[in-house]
Symmetry: C2
Subunit: 280 residues, 2 copies
């Protein structure tokens, strides 16, 4: 874990997809995000701290703890941190974290699991917003098509997820791998598209469930359509589509609604169950 | 309507809230947005066309039609248009359009109407995404608090709305005006907040309805809370909140769901009704 900290220039390169892929790393900033990554056991490659900017007591404590764990730490001036930062109010703490890509679970999805599958989401903010909803209702993870250029570790995706990214499994799979997984474990695979004829509320979701979402402009791809056993649409009286993260969230909440009667409680992190004793 | 076209520098100033307020105007670009504004009878103050970039036949036709209607038109080079543009692929057509702020309807909301009310939405993209959902299900309009700095005509809001903004009434009202309107016409006023105890699905929405949304970070303001007769929350198993546009959209679709049984059809543009003969 120890070694030299990443210099500023190397961290800046992580804004590009190619550098994130090559290094298997991404950069996060702000106490909230560093806490979220730390809480879920993410691998920290390097820490950056601008002591003059770092006012958050939690951020200060976290910086100490990560250093004590041997994470290489770079101390920078506020000016240097602002070069790295894309926040309106830079908080003076950031970290290079390993991008934990996983493979499709070989034992199959759990019987109660829900996943989302994407291949060509154009806006990383949309993907992040969708992951935030997904994590909020115990979706297991996001399956990203190997063919696309979708990156859940894009800075805007991580930011829009509000750190929820770290409580999801992030899986990369080819079309063939996903088709095999589907045949082997038989989850319900449902695509959301304005071109469907079935109202998303009239559909009976079953678990395990995979909700497939297309691109903002073109909807579901041919590869995605071939995977779906059913397609659902969200009714409208005007316009032709909703924002992708909104549409995905509405379908996910409908599926969740069917699994979880109002007021039901159970273990957290399971799709369709509310936390034990928790209000939310 | 005729006169001198707006020069590039003056249009660029419209990126700032102050210039938009002072001039009562905003800038839109791209054929889709110019069409949406034109279709709903917006007032065009000035047109900008870069003929070398304008490949869309609809855009070309629209430019001709707006010029024929006497809208002053500026012809620019691709380089000049790119200075104006915030799009990835500038389409070579843009327009300065009047920001149609309205007052609260004095005759009151229609008996079937739904409105949204906001006061401190921080991200114009979130507001635009919410307006896109609202327009898709026949919400009448958005009521913006006079006290805040929320601007539905911010370029990012217009863009995220995909032009749906133009099919909504955009109302500015003070707290006192809204309180008066509420007393006078007695709509149901429901706030969405994670701090509520009522599940948004367990609540019985009635019409006319106003759905109140707070700020991304702080939720509903005290002024907003004082207006609400009820507060609803969206249940979660993890995390503490959803994206604002997602949360608002989920509540709006639930209200709509209660008013519109699956498959029901009626006139378009009325909350809870599907278009006559239309699929969507």
């Amino acid at each position: 874990m120890s070694g030299a900290p990443w210099p500023v220039e190397q961290i800046l390169e992580l804004r590009g997809l190619e550098a994130r892929e090559r290094s298997g790393s991404h950069f996060i900033e702000g106490a909230r995000f560093v806490v979220a990554a730390s809480d879920t056991g993410a691998t920290f490659r390097s820490l950056v701290v601008a002591p003059k900017l770092l006012r958050s007591p939690i951020g200060q404590m976290l910086a100490r703890r990560l250093r004590a764990r041997g994470v290489p730490s770079l101390v920078v001036t506020p000016q240097e941190f602002e070069r790295l930062s894309q926040a309106e109010q830079p908080q003076g703490i950031g970290a290079v974290v390993a991008s934990e890509w996983q493979r499709l679970p070989q034992e199959g999805p759990g019987p109660l699991d829900c996943w989302i599958a994407v291949s060509e989401v154009r806006s990383p903010g949309n993907l992040g917003t969708l992951m935030r909803t997904a994590a909020a209702i115990g979706v297991r993870g996001v399956i990203v098509a190997r063919s696309g250029r979708v990156d859940p570790f894009h800075p805007a995706a991580v930011r829009a997820s509000m750190g929820a990214l770290y409580s999801l499994k992030v899986v990369r799979a080819s079309v063939a791998e996903l088709a095999w997984w589907r045949r082997r474990f038989a989850p319900a695979v449902v695509g959301a598209t304005p071109q469907a004829s079935v109202d998303y509320r009239a559909f009976s979701y079953r678990r395990p469930l995979v909700v497939v979402l297309g691109s903002e402009r073109k909807g579901l791809s041919d590869d995605q359509l071939a995977l779906c056993e059913a397609r659902v649409r969200i009714p409208m009286v005007a316009g032709d589509s909703l924002n992708l993260a909104v549409a995905g969230s509405i379908v996910l909440y409908e599926a969740w609604r069917q699994f979880r009667p109002t007021g039901a409680r159970a273990a957290p992190g399971v799709f369709g169950r509310a936390p034990a004793g928790g209000r939310r």
